[in-house]
């Protein structure tokens, strides 16, 4: 055997072992592509199923989304119309508010004027009532005077009636006497001269004042010693007039006089006169002792 053959045998053995080791190592560590293929196919099938279901869900979701979209569009349209209506209502309400504010301002001015007018009317009413009270007191006084005058008038009418009857009777007697005198004088050719009244002609009738007691009675309600004045509990409504004099008594004791200076409806004020003692509240005050 030649040397070259030996070398080739050794090299062949070495390379055979080396290559076989490489091949065995590669095959031992190679991937199982069939198993990987099967796994990937299963994954692909499941992915395809998932895709189908996802597509169905997507279609369903799209349909539902479209339906919701249509509903939302209709809702948006109705809301827009409502918003427009509300906008118009708001504008109307604002206009009404401005109008109401203007009317309120005018009413405020009217109410203020009315309040002022009411105050002035109240004051005028108060003054009128006071004047009415005074007029009532004066009316009562006048009524009393009228009654008194009527009584006097009736008395005078009775007197006048009696006098008329007397005058008529005297006239009849005068006529009868005149006739008799004429009959007697005719026998002597004479006639009676017209009668001349001996008594003077009657003048205009005058009423005689009949003195009588006024009879007003009241009580002292206030005393002002500083100004020597006092107030009594009766006034114009009871017939009290200015310059009327009241006698103040306490029991049987004379205290003073009050000369009335100012008369109100239910009270009167006067100055003290003939002061024997200082009058007190509650003392009797009367026009006649």
């Amino acid at each position: 055997m030649s040397t070259l053959t030996k070398i080739l045998i050794v090299l062949l053995t070495v390379f055979s072992i080396f290559l076989c080791g490489i091949v065995v190592t590669y095959v031992a560590n190679a991937n199982n592509y069939r198993q990987m293929y099967m796994g990937l196919r299963v994954e692909k099938d499941s992915a395809v199923k998932k895709e189908e279901s996802a597509r169905n869900e997507l279609n369903t979701f799209k349909d539902e989304t479209d339906r919701h979209k249509r509903q939302l569009n209709s809702t948006i349209d109705s809301l827009k119309s409502q918003a427009n209506q509300l906008q118009r209502d708001l504008q109307t309400a604002n206009a009404e508010k401005d109008d109401a504010i203007r009317r309120m301002s005018s009413w405020e001015a009217i109410v203020m004027d009315f309040s002022k007018t009411t105050d002035s009317q109240s004051q005028l009413l108060k003054n009128t009532l006071d004047e009415l009270e005074k007029l009532r007191a004066e009316q009562i006084k006048k009524d009393k005077e009228l009654k008194q005058t009527e009584t006097t008038l009736l008395e005078k009418m009775v007197i006048i009636s009696t006098l008329d009857k007397k005058a008529k009777r005297l006239l009849e007697e005068k006529t009868e006497l005149q006739n008799r005198l004429n009959q007697l004088l005719r026998q002597y050719g004479k006639i009676a001269a017209p009668a001349v009244p001996v008594t003077p002609k009657p003048e205009k009738a005058r009423t005689t004042s009949v003195a009588r007691n006024i009879g007003l009675k009241g009580r002292v309600t206030a005393v002002d010693q500083k100004n020597s004045m006092a107030e009594i509990s009766i006034g114009g409504a009871h017939g009290v007039t200015e310059d009327m004099k009241f006698h103040v008594t306490r029991g049987d004791e004379f205290i003073c006089d009050i000369l009335i200076l100012d008369v109100d409806a239910e009270k009167a004020v006067g100055i003290l006169d003939l002061v024997q003692q200082i009058p007190k509240v509650g003392d009797n005050a009367s026009t006649n002792l």
Partner: protein
């Protein structure tokens, strides 16, 4: 083997047998590798030569 070997003595025969063993080893290694590859192909793909 050769007449030269017989004339030189037992040392040359021994050397020739070594090369025969080396060739046997190389052939055995190749055979084992082929068997291993065939086993792996069959176990993993179910066939040896066809593409599944």
């Amino acid at each position: 083997m050769s007449p030269n070997g017989q004339t030189v003595g037992r040392k040359i025969v021994t050397l020739d047998n070594i090369y025969t063993v080396l060739l046997a080893v190389a052939v055995g290694a190749a055979l084992v590798s082929v068997l291993f590859v065939a086993y792996k192909c069959y176990s993993q793909y179910g066939t040896i030569f066809k593409i599944p």
